[in-house]
């Protein structure tokens, strides 16, 4: 049926009507892009695979939004609303990933080591002792000395804390989260050893890390980490089974 033309309408709706061939053409393009993204997934491009997949998905999404959802022919403000939601999605995703990617594994004195580069993660306590402070703890002084040499020097050091439970090797994927004040040096060293062993191990090994749970210093953030590791702990040695 042909579109009727109104000249004396009283606020009649004149929505743009796309021809059937346009819709079918867009559908064909979408199928082609689906086949393309499926085919590309068999090619090993490493990190680029994700980028290619997202780019193709965005092209498909744009076709659906512009033509199937008529946003191209609609009032401009509807586009503003939709693009606004994408803007906030981008902020949410961008800021969160930026933050979580810069969290490292637990290292010396509450400083975390980025597992990807082996460097100190941003933040954490300073390595240098406060001016005028007397450090009589042999383990602590040694730790500061080793810390100056960088993260590698602090790995694989035996735990020097007394009366503390032996540390359990932590899976590189399992996040061991603990508060680490200056007074918690023994906890730091046990967790450090755990991290040191974990970094040597295959990331696939199932394990659980609960260095300070017994000392009651585990904060609430530790619970999701240990709950996460719980079902996967196939061969974890856990003397500190207090949960």
């Amino acid at each position: 049926m042909a579109e009727q033309q109104h000249h004396s309408d009283e606020g009649e709706v004149h929505a743009h009507i796309s021809p059937t061939t346009t819709y079918i053409g867009i559908f064909v393009a979408l199928v082609v892009l689906t086949v393309l993204t499926y085919a590309v997934s068999f090619v090993h491009l490493g990190r680029t695979n994700l980028l290619v997949a997202v780019v193709i998905a965005t092209i498909k999404a744009s076709l659906v939004v512009l033509f199937f959802m008529h946003l191209k022919y609609d009032s401009r403000f509807n586009s503003v609303v939709f693009l606004g939601s994408l803007l906030f999605l981008a902020i949410f995703l961008g800021y969160t990933l930026n933050d979580t990617d810069q969290r490292g594994e637990f290292g010396e004195y509450g400083r975390r080591v980025l597992t990807s580069t082996g460097e100190w993660a941003p933040g954490g306590l300073p390595l240098e002792p406060k001016p005028g402070a007397q450090n009589t703890d042999a383990a602590g002084a040694g730790a500061i000395e080793r810390g100056k040499e960088g993260p590698e020097a602090t790995m694989n050091q035996p735990a020097e804390a007394e009366g503390a439970e032996p540390a359990v090797a932590g899976d590189a994927g399992a996040k061991a989260v603990t508060d680490s004040d200056a007074g918690e040096e023994s906890a730091a060293q046990r967790a450090d050893e755990a991290t040191g062993e974990a970094l040597e191990d295959e990331p696939n090994e199932a394990a659980k890390a609960k260095p300070s749970a017994a000392q009651g210093t585990a904060n609430t953030a530790a619970d999701p980490a240990s709950n996460e590791a719980d079902p996967a702990a196939a061969d974890a040695q856990d003397p500190a089974a207090d949960e």
Binding site: E3, A15, S18, G46, L86, D171, G173, P203, N204, A233
Partner: protein
Amino acid sequence: MATASEAAETEHEHHGPKWLQHHFDTPVQQFDAAKLGMWTFLAQEVLFFSGLFVAYGVYRSWYPEVFSIGSHLLDKNLGALNTIVLLFSSLTAALAVRSAQVGERKKTSIYLIVTIVCAFAFLVVKYFEYSHKIHVGLLPGNFWHADPAHLGMPANAVLPANLHVFFGIYFMMTGVHGLHVVIGIGVMIWILIRNMRGDFDQKFFTPVDLTALYWHLVDLIWIYLFPLLYLID
């Protein structure tokens, strides 16, 4: 059609046809308001799903090997099939709106029925996917009880420690999406009934339009879910 609106106009006199609500002056004002309201809702839906997508992003960046292996445990052929099914259903939804715009009531009904059938087909494929995973124990969180032998791997193969995290995210994302498909089916059946009842014509097709917009969004979400979950290298 003509008689209904004429009868209504004698009742409502200077206001307009029966579908023109009293707080709107003209049909185009009502239509624009309805569209804007729907786009605002769709913007909310994007933000609604964004929580799950950000969770995906964070956990994938933390456990890339877990996501790679988890993705290989999904059936990408079924995922691709579901993608084509949803894309086709989006086409038929758009054609349903077009038919309503030109006043072809029967075609609108047919396209709506085809869209609903495609939606059910999507759910059937999901049923097969889910039941297989439940059978072999690829379940989220504490319900995890998979072992390599049942997954076609050598018995001494070691699965990554946090694989249940991947499946938690998989079930949440596809599950919430599937819930939206079910809701979409319900809404489409209702609009189909209304169309068969003669509620819509060339001058008033807004509910069909808005329903199709919702369905396109469901398709949009899947367009991203498919490569992100099924096509990880």
